[in-house]
């Protein structure tokens, strides 16, 4: 069954994307299949999501990488001066097989097309990525903050102190904020 799924996924990909991708499969001794796929064009991830949705598959997780080193070349300190390059790994699962689809965002771009409209299991992962990596989601049905308070200003690669991320909870800050806000809209969560 796993071989069939691998074959039909490869052929679907070739049908939709032509030769704009590169796919290999790793199978370990116990039969654990992990595919590694690289897309030439970042926007094609939406079509891959549609294929996975047809297979009744799901997103396991996303992992964003900030300027990763090139794996087949020795890394050196000078590579730290390279321009920022954002890479996103989509870890997908369907029919018993795991597949990691990698896209690289074009230089100086911090936005990606959301796949949540076709794969709802990507919802939280995409929003987390937006919070923590400042990568904007295009076409996400509910692109609200997930982990960070909405008052925190997002900057690229900023470190946010825990007390700020927690909105000052546990210190006097939260209480002072409530006192400042007065009695209006006491019951709405907007003030908390």
């Amino acid at each position: 069954m796993k071989e069939e799924a691998m074959k039909s996924f490869s052929s679907e990909m070739a049908l939709k994307l032509g030769n704009k991708f590169d796919l290999r499969w790793d199978i370990d001794k116990k039969g654990f299949v992990s595919g590694w796929c690289r897309l030439m064009d970042a926007d094609d991830i939406y079509q891959v999501a549609e294929i996975v949705a047809d297979f009744k598959g799901r997103v396991i997780t996303l992992s964003a990488l900030n300027t990763p080193s090139v794996l087949n070349e020795p890394s050196d300190a000078s590579s730290k001066n390279e321009p920022i390059k954002l890479v996103i790994n989509y870890h997908l699962y369907f029919d018993g097989i795991n597949c990691t689809v990698t896209i690289t965002l074009p230089d100086n771009e911090r936005a990606v097309r959301s796949i949540t409209p076709v794969l709802i299991s990507a919802d939280w992962h995409e929003r987390e990525m937006q919070d923590l990596f400042n990568i904007k989601l295009l076409g996400h049905p509910n692109p609200k903050r997930l982990f960070l308070d909405k008052d925190i200003h997002l900057a690229d690669h900023a470190m946010i102190p825990l007390s700020e991320a927690m909105n000052g909870a546990g210190t006097n800050t939260l209480w002072e904020k409530i006192m400042r806000s007065g009695r209006k809209d006491e019951n709405t969560d907007e003030q908390l």
Binding site: F32, I60, T61, S63, S75, H91, S121, D189
Partner: protein
């Protein structure tokens, strides 16, 4: 009837950990839910990228208390793939053994949590008393009640002799009768069934769509279990029978966990009966070569995945993991609308949430 919003959390009497629900209610019925997380975000993922591969064993063990064993376990499997080494068969069996012992303790906690949430505290105490046997077992065999710290890159750091094997077998065997009684009591308790049956329903189609995993998926008729579908450690040699229920409500998820405790006991017995001799770990400290790998395991709450990327140094370039609870939160969007305000805690409890895990 007018609709209004009520906040539940981040600090709330029935939530042991902080998370914030903004619920839209109409009268007493919930019509929508919005979740805001991040209150216990500790930045462990970032920390793992500042520590070397061995320091991370200790760190990943502390992501979660109840599935503490699965984190270093899965992390080790990913690193072993990068290093291209194989764990000795006895090491794999001992890994699975520790895993199942943790699973029994974790499930019993959640089985007790359900009666606790609905106010049946004597049943909660009863379940916790049974669970205490497993805590004692962990303390005696591994030296600690929660963070048992058995995994290392290339194998396990503990070994058991015949006497310990006999002790484990006797303990799990003695557990059977009280467990049968507990299961009978839960199944015949009108108050538990009234509060759990038909509440927080997630259909099979929705379970597949939202990509839920673990007992939440199996309670909705999706038989997915990593131990069966993507075997690891000793699970390619030991048969695992996934426990599946069809109704998709809180009660089904509770029954799945009860069934899995019995299944885990059977697996522990089989592991000990067929435990092979030999070394327990890889004899050298391996070189972690350049590359990337993923590994998965079935934690008590469901599928756990680790992604590790190495650039050839002794500090990983990227580690990312996704805990089972993370995926299950989204399904609350389906489970909650239509329920009464009083049912909210028991629905949240039924996904066995781990908030520290979710936010890392």
């Amino acid at each position: 009837m007018s609709s209004y919003n009520i906040p539940v959390g981040p600090i709330h009497v029935v939530l042991e950990e902080p998370i914030y629900f903004n619920l839209q209610v109409e009268g007493e019925t919930v019509i929508g839910v919005e979740i805001n997380a991040g209150h216990v975000h500790r930045g462990i993922e970032f920390l793992t990228m500042q520590r070397n591969y061995y320091q991370n064993l200790t760190l990943t063990e502390r992501v979660c208390s109840l599935c503490s064993n699965n984190h270093p376990f899965t992390y080790c499997m990913a690193v072993e793939k990068l290093a291209g080494i194989e764990v000795p068969v006895r090491g794999e069996y001992l890994r699975s053994l520790a895993d199942e012992i943790k699973r029994i303790a974790s499930h019993l906690f959640n089985i007790g949590l359900h009666p606790h949430i609905i106010g049946f505290d004597s049943m909660f105490m009863h379940a916790m008393e049974i669970r205490e046997t497993m805590q004692d077992l962990k303390e005696i065999v591994f030296g600690n009640r929660m963070n048992i710290s058995v995994n290392t890159i290339g194998g396990v750091r503990y070994n058991i002799d015949d006497e310990q094997a006999k002790y484990i077998l006797k303990t799990v065997n003695d557990l059977k009768k009280p467990l049968v009684d507990l299961a009978k009591m839960i199944k015949s308790s009108a108050s538990i069934r009234r509060r759990c049956e038909g509440v927080g329903v997630l259909t099979k189609e929705q379970a597949i769509k939202y990509g839920v995993i673990g007992p939440v998926a199996r309670g909705s008729g999706v038989p997915y279990d990593v131990r069966v579908d993507n075997p690891y450690a000793a699970y390619d040699k030991i048969k695992v029978n996934p426990v599946v229920e069809q109704n998709g409500d809180v009660y089904s998820r509770l029954l799945v966990r009860i069934g899995e405790v019995f299944e885990s006991i059977r697996i522990v017995e089989e592991l000990l009966r067929t435990l092979p001799d030999g070394p327990t770990e890889y004899p050298y400290i391996p070189d972690i070569s350049v590359g990337e790998a993923i590994a998965k395991s079935e934690a008590p709450r469901g599928e756990l995945i680790y992604y590790v990327r190495s650039n050839g140094t002794d500090i990983p370039e990227r580690i990312k993991w996704r805990v089972p609870t993370y995926q299950n939160w989204g399904a609350l969007d389906v489970m909650m609308p239509g329920c009464k305000i009083a049912d909210i805690p028991v629905i949240v409890g039924s996904i066995d949430p781990c908030i520290s895990c979710t936010e890392r």
